[in-house]
Amino acid sequence: MRTHLREIERTAKICNRLGLHARAAGKLRNLAAQYQCMIKLVKGRLEVDAKSILGIMALEAAKGAELIIRAWGEDSEQAVAAICRLIADKFGEEE
């Protein structure tokens, strides 16, 4: 099923102080929800849906954690780029 959809994969490093705590997780989830494509976050052996706040929090991604962002669908490229930007921007949290 997935193969004939456009699949994008990129790696990002969590660099905000608090990691993917509730607030950052909420922001990531809200961003992911704006896209049609399916988006998964992978950390180690864990894979969760980027549109699920529960899933994101359960990743327990602290500062320094590496995430793989994987997306399939029409707007997958934009979605992955936007998520990587959010992570690199430290979720807009001031340092």
């Binding site: 705590h21 509730a22 909420g26 989830r29 849906d49 699920s52 529960l54 359960a58 327990e60």
Partner: protein, 606 residues
Amino acid sequence: MAEQRRNLKIEGIAASEGIVAGRAYVMSKVHLPAHQRKIPPEQAPLEVKRLREAVAAAVAELEGIKNELDRHNAREPFFIIDAHLLLMQDEVLWKEVEQLIAEELVNAEWALRRVINKWMKVFDSLSDEYLRERGHDVDIVGERILAKLIGHKEKDFSQIQEPVIVVAPDLRPDQTAQMLFSKILGFATDIGSRTSHTAIVARSLGIPAVVGLENVSRQVEDGDLVILDGIDGVVLVSPDKEMCAHYQRKKARFDALNKLLEDFATPPSITQDGFKLQLSANLEILDEIKFVKKYGAEGVGLYRTEYLYLDRNVLPNEDEHFENYRKLAEAVSPGEAVIRTFDLGGDKFSSQLKLAPEMNPALGLRAIRFCLRSPEIFKAQIRGILRASAFGKIQVMFPFISGLEEVLEAKRILKQAMEELDREGVKFDSAIPLGIMVEVPGAALTADRLAEEVDFFSIGTNDLIQYVLAIDRVNEYVSYLYQPLHPAVLWMIKRVVEAGHRAGIRVAMCGEMAGDPLFLPVLVGMKFDQLSMHARTIPMVRKVLRGLKASELEPMVDELMKMSTAEQIRSFLQARVEKEWRDAYHLELGDVEAGGETIICSRTDR
């Protein structure tokens, strides 16, 4: 049965001030039943529809609560309600439930319960304590939706017709907040502490509450007459007439006193002849910051940081320290806040530092001694404090200093942290004022030397008295010897003030002695610069201060220093309160029950 509970007194923790009486409204916490039911395949879409409707109804209910809270300007519990709303909007969660309904052909209730349990398990296994607690939120959300599914009506506070006192094992912060616009007079719970969310919400809304009563939800029955004393943390079940009368008076007195003291909830803090004394607040937790404004505290004279370390498995990191202190700095601005580095060990418990048991913890490895032995833990806090100093007026204070070497060593670490931050290009206040607690006799006696190395002293009387008089405050057999007015104690305090002033530095007092109006004339006479105390005692101390004359008090202190016992000094002061300082100390409470009462200002902090 009711007879057995006559005048039953249950002691707990005072979570929010006030005294109320009323019938008990007992809530018991049981998980709602979710029975498994097999369904025929054609019914699956119907179950999915039921689930969706239940979720929508639960969301609407929470939105409703939120709007109502907003209307009442009670936004403290928003953070928790928003977190629950976010969970309810988690499509992935509901898709999992739908999938279970369709694949296993079970009813919505059963599928929901299984998915919720699964996620609670996932969160339970996390190592981050904060994230682990989110499992509790998942549970609450699941219960709310389950309630909609099975048509269970939670005992709804808005339906209560008569004023009642809620008695429950535990309450959620949003439930607590709803009490604001219901007929609930106050609440009593089995669990909780002064710093639990429910207690904080109760205080911020002014709902009297007693928590940590252990068994109250089983000891009290629906309809029992109950008196809730949120001042002393007591619940009285089925009180008799006399007990009721006693509490009526206590309540009237409390209300009248608060009303009168409103006039003194703003600076200046000054004697009749113009001697200024800075009255600042001691804070236990950050949420108490609102009382700084409410009671007109002039800054924060002691921010205890131990709570950041307690009840957790991992030590707070630098960022947590920073976040916490930055909020403090911003909230207290334009005033200043003195942050005391952690005083752990001794009588304070720490779950994660795993200190070996000591024979004499009060004299053992604690506070600055522990910090200097574990510089990494210490430095995380120091760096957090320094970073926060870029956001407001922060001062740093080291506890339990016993001699000069410790001051120099602590300063060396502080300097190191500053150099690191400089290299990293992080902003901080390079002139951050640095002070020490003077609470060990050795420090008090060498105050002259120490004064040259620091910007301020703060005398911690609780410990100082304990060590000067060699008494264990919590040992009931010797606690009568705990005498703040003991000549040796006064002599030592006076010496510290003089040493500080000779070196031109500020001298403060932050122990319980600072908040007792009876001692105020002595402290003014000794020319203290600052007294720091529980914020709510500030108006009373300020009232007394405004009635005193500093010029009379300096010679009075000289008189006191010639006396031989604490008792002589106390009687002397009390006689003055009765005669010469009547106006300063007396408060006319006016119509308390039987027409008028005058009280003498005395310590209100417990």
